[in-house]
C-alpha cells in the first residue's frame, strides 16, 4: 500500500515539474514559429506575392502560433488566451495580426523589418529560458518525487 502511495506521490511530483516547465517550452515554440513565419512572410511579400492563407497553408509547423494565424485569417477575431504570454506580449501579437497583409509591399517589408528584431530577441530569450529552467524543473521534480517516495515507503 505504501509502495503504491509512494509511486503516486512520485508521479504527481514529476507531473507538477512537467507542468511548470510547459509554459517555457510553449513560449519557446511560439516565438520560434513567430520568427520563422516572419522570414517566410518577408520572402513571400518580396518575391512570389503569395497570399497570407497560402503562406499559412505551406507553413510546416502546426502549433499555437499557426492556430492563431489561421483563426485570425479565418474570422479576424481571435481570443488570445495563451497563458504563457504576458499582457504586453498579447498586445504586441494582436497588433502584429492586425498589421500583416494590410499594406503594399514596401510598407509590409518596413513593418516586418521593425518587428523581426523584437521577435528574434524574444526567441533567443525564450530559448535560453527553456534550456535553463525547463530541464531544471523536471530534474527538480524527479528529485523531490524520489525523496518523497523514500519518505513514504
Amino acid at each position: 500500500m505504501r509502495l503504491i502511495f509512494g509511486l503516486l506521490v512520485f508521479i504527481l511530483s514529476v507531473c507538477l515539474g512537467w507542468q511548470k516547465s510547459m509554459p517555457l517550452k510553449k513560449r519557446n515554440e511560439f516565438y520560434g514559429s513567430f520568427n520563422n513565419f516572419n522570414l517566410v512572410y518577408k520572402n513571400a511579400v518580396s518575391f512570389d506575392k503569395k497570399s497570407l492563407s497560402k503562406i499559412i497553408e505551406g507553413f510546416n509547423k502546426k502549433d499555437d502560433f499557426y492556430e492563431l494565424l489561421n483563426n485570425y485569417i479565418g474570422n479576424s477575431n481571435v481570443d488570445l488566451n495563451l497563458s504563457y504570454l504576458t499582457n504586453d506580449e498579447k498586445v504586441f501579437v494582436m497588433d502584429y495580426l492586425k498589421s500583416i497583409g494590410k499594406g503594399d509591399e514596401r510598407s509590409q517589408l518596413d513593418y516586418i523589418e521593425h518587428v523581426y528584431d523584437v521577435v528574434e530577441d524574444k526567441k533567443k530569450q525564450c530559448f535560453e529560458d527553456a534550456k535553463k529552467f525547463s530541464g531544471m524543473y523536471i530534474k527538480l521534480s524527479v528529485l523531490i518525487g524520489l525523496m518523497l517516495f523514500i519518505v513514504v515507503v
Binding site: 497570399s51 485569417i73 514596401r106
Partner: protein, 288 residues
Amino acid sequence: MNLSFLPVDILSAIAKVNCSVLNEIRLRKGYAIKIILDSQMFYLTAEGASGNKTHAIICTESHINRIVDVVTERSIYAHIERIKKGYLSFFGGIRIGIGGEFVFENGKVITVKNITSLNVRIPHEITGCADDVYEKLYKSGVKNTLIISPPMQGKTTLIKEIVNKISESNIGSILVIDERGEFFNVKGENIDLISYADKLFSFEFGIRTLSPKVVIADELISQNDWKCAYKATFSGVKIIASCHADSIEEVAQKDFFINKVFERYVVLRSINGIASHKEIYDKDFNRI
C-alpha cells in the same frame, strides 16, 4: 455566382434578390447600399430590393473592410497592382471598383488607403448574344472591329461570346488580353489568355510569342491602348476591341482616336444590360 466575399447581412439580403438580373452592388460608407437590377436602381434592405430608402442597409466601415479583406485574402501586397489601378477582382470575373484616398509618389499611385466606396460589378453570360454579329462580321473572316457603348451595356459579355464563337470556328489562335480578370471563363483549345498584364505588354509580347490570328482586347482607354491596337493591325493580326462611348461620333472625337484602324464598328444599345440592339458601321462610318 460566388458572392461569398459579402458580409453576412448583405449576403442574406442579396439572397432575396433575383441574382440573374443583378448588375451591380454599390457601397458607400455611411450611405444606403444600392443595387442595380435590370439596369434599374434599388435600395438593398434586409428583405431584398426596395424602392424605399427607409429600411435600406447602411454601408459601414466594417462592411467595406470585410469585403476588401476577403477579396484580397488579407494580403493587400498580393493585389496591389490591381488596387493601384482602382479595382479588385474576385472569382467568377467579378470586378470591384475602389474609391478612397489614392496615395501618389513621383506621379504614380503607390497605394489606396481609407477606402470609402466599392462598386461590385457582376458579369453575366448570355449565350447567343453574339450570333448576329458573328454572322454579319466574322463568318467570312474576322475584321478589325471596335465595339462601342457606355458602361454596363454588355460589351464584355458580347466580346466573350464572340471569342467563343470564333474559337469554335477553328480559324487559328486567339489571344485574349484580359487586363482585369473578367475573361476567366473564356477557355478553349484555340484561346490564349494573358491576364492582369497591361495592354502594352500584352500586345507586344503576346503577338510576338503566341502568334495569334486574332487579338481580343476589352476597353481601349488610353492613347497607349489605341497605339498598341494600331500597331497590332500592322502585324498581320485582326483585332476585336471595345471602347466606352455613346456613339460612333463620340469615339471619333476622342483625342487619341486613330482613323481606319478598325474596319467595322458595332454600337450597342442595351435593354436591361443585355446588348439587344446593335448598329454596325463600316470604316467610313457608314451604317451597314
